[in-house]
């Protein structure tokens, strides 16, 4: 149990650090993230600039801290919106059955035939690069996983005795959904959403890395990596630190998801082999 708690603790620590840098970025940043000092361009890490400076002489640490805001905003809002849309559609389709379920299953199958980032990339190409469009494109791809999960859960839950008993006792659709189905759905959806935040952060960084995500001068970890790639030989710190930030955050959310799953579903803990 202590190992499971460790995962949860590690995940929560990363989330707390991310939240803190999100809220305190202006106070923690040694320099304004957009302040240029062209004569100091590509300077390596030093006492005044612990993570170095980019080609415009901007402070990498300040940009990373402000970039955390973009990452967290995109990660959380994508996961939340996708969760709401997916859970609602999946649960409704499974509960209603018939053509509604058939239609949703077909739509899910078609959307799953696209590698997620590819469809997001195509949507970004059409909608144009901006922060809102990144969230829109990632939600358009992201809801499918939640819908599939919610559908599967409701299909199994609706035949369970406590739901049948509630219906037999005369509970209406609303009461069955809110009182009996939703609380049982929340745990697996919450776990999925935790992993989803990490995936959305990587997807945003990937889109920005290709130049189709958040646009300069807004600091985004993916865009910072892409800019740093051009100076890989002379200024490797520009590639190293944003990548490290992404890695730590993704690992953190993976730990959080694993820890939550173990905590919320003790059966998994007992039955898991690894």
């Amino acid at each position: 149990m202590s190992r499971l708690n460790l995962k949860l603790r590690l995940g929560l620590a990363v989330l707390a650090a991310l939240m803190a840098s999100n809220l305190l970025a202006p106070a923690l940043s040694p320099f304004p993230p957009l302040e240029q000092r062209l004569e100091e361009g590509l300077n390596p890490p030093s006492l005044s600039h612990p993570l170095g400076q980019d080609k415009f002489g901007r402070d990498v640490l300040s940009r990373l801290l402000h970039g955390a805001r973009v990452s967290l905003l995109i990660g959380l809002s994508t996961a939340l919106v996708s969760l709401l849309i997916g859970a609602l559609l999946g649960a409704a389709a499974a509960y209603l059955g018939g053509w509604a379920d058939e239609l949703l299953t077909r739509v899910i199958d078609v959307l799953l035939a696209f590698p997620g980032i590819l469809l997001a990339l195509a949507l970004m190409a059409i909608l144009g690069p901006s922060l809102n469009n990144v969230i829109l494109a990632l939600c358009a791809v992201g809801w499918v996983g939640y819908a599939r999960l919610a559908r599967g859960q409701v299909l199994s839950l609706r035949e369970r005795e406590f739901v049948l008993a509630a219906r037999a006792a005369g509970a209406g659709l609303g009461r069955v959904v809110v009182v009996h189905l939703l609380p049982n759905l929340l745990a697996p959806l919450l776990v999925e959403a935790t992993f989803g935040v990490g995936s959305a952060i990587v997807a945003e960084a990937g889109l920005s890395f290709l130049g189709f995500g958040v646009q300069p001068p807004t600091p985004s970890w993916g865009a910072m990596l892409n800019q740093g790639r051009q100076f890989l030989l002379v200024a490797p710190h520009l590639t190293t630190f944003p990548g490290l930030a992404i890695l730590v955050v993704v690992l953190g959310f993976n730990f959080l998801g694993d820890g939550l799953r173990d905590r919320l579903d003790p059966r998994l803990t007992r039955s898991r082999v690894n």
Binding site: V110, L111, F114, L118, A122, L232, P236, G243, I246, V250
Partner: protein, 310 residues
């Protein structure tokens, strides 16, 4: 098996039609006049007219869709706006490179994951197991757009062992395949380990040991064979992730494949080329999933007997 095959093939038709429809529907999503979007507002009248004709933009949407399907049925994916060459030809030129990269990354993933996964399972809770699992955790979380530049920095710049980018020799393939294959290797290592741990305590394994077979034969012949079934499925499912990952990997290493062609199409707003790339990648994914399902069904008779039309 033939009934299962027929059902599975029949299911392919609506899925492919759905994919094609979705790709077609991207065009009406373009805000404003698609001609402005593709050619820019300052384009010449003759070019604008030619594009309208090529896309049948003056026709109603339903007719545009039918004409799009008709073109696809003839293998006509249109003409690239940028290079003025048939899209199908451009894709055929680039597809082998992506396939080569994807297969090489699968090979690297298997070469890394099989021994690591087996050793981790056999020596559970050992230092090797912990190291392999920590490596797998890192590998799965490491984005390929970071790993690629790091590998270039180490193997191409510092050590000078491998070329920085480009294509032409087998050495050019190593770094892109390693970049693309690392996260798959990480996922596979965990999968091989947990699958093997599940079968390791089964009665037929004990029987094999009781017959006097060596531990190596028991693990490889009896254990791994059964443990590999879910691994095959995972490989099929991960193929889509590899194709998607190739977009970034090919961009980093200037690898002349379909992924880079897709990025070029987006940058140049070459819509017919983009549609062609999307179609090729997603249909490849659908086809690989079908083959995975069939391989799975061939390996495990319970699947074809239990599962319905899906």
């Amino acid at each position: 098996m033939s009934r299962y095959l027929l059902r599975r093939l029949a299911w392919l038709v609506p899925t492919c039609l759905g994919v094609v429809s979705l790709i077609f529907l991207l065009r009406p999503l373009i805000p404003g006049d698609p001609v402005d979007f593709i050619l820019g507002e300052s384009a010449q009248a003759a070019d604008r007219e030619a594009l309208r004709r090529a896309f049948h933009l003056d026709e109603p949407l339903a007719r545009q869709y039918l004409l799009f399907l008709e073109g696809l049925a003839r293998g006509d994916l249109g003409v690239s706006i940028h290079s003025r060459r048939p899209v199908a030809r451009l894709i055929l030129e680039r597809y082998p490179a992506t396939l080569k990269l994807t297969l090489a990354s699968i090979l690297i993933a298997l070469v890394l994951a099989l021994p690591l996964g087996v050793l981790s399972a056999v020596r559970r809770e050992s230092a090797l197991d912990h190291t392999a699992m920590a490596g797998a955790l890192l590998g799965a979380a490491m984005p390929n757009f970071w790993l690629g530049p790091l590998l270039i920095l180490l193997f191409a710049v510092q050590l000078g062992w491998l070329p920085v980018s480009g294509a032409g020799s087998p050495a050019h393939l190593v770094l892109p395949a390693l970049t693309l294959g690392t996260s798959l290797a990480a996922i596979l290592t965990r999968m091989v380990r947990s699958s093997l741990l599940e079968v390791i305590g089964q009665e037929y394994m004990t029987t094999a040991r009781a017959k006097g077979l060596s531990e190596g034969v028991v693990i490889c012949k009896h254990g791994l064979r059964n443990a590999l079934i879910p691994v095959i499925t995972l490989l099929g499912l991960q193929f889509g992730a590899l194709l998607a990952g190739s977009i970034i990997t090919e961009t980093i290493f200037a690898w002349p494949g379909l992924g880079r062609l897709t990025v070029t199409a987006i940058q140049a707003r070459d819509f017919p080329l983009l549609q062609g790339c999307l179609l090729t990648i997603s249909l490849s994914y659908v086809l690989i999933n079908l083959l995975t399902d069939l391989a799975y069904a061939a390996a495990d008779p319970r699947i074809r007997l239990n599962r319905g039309g899906r």
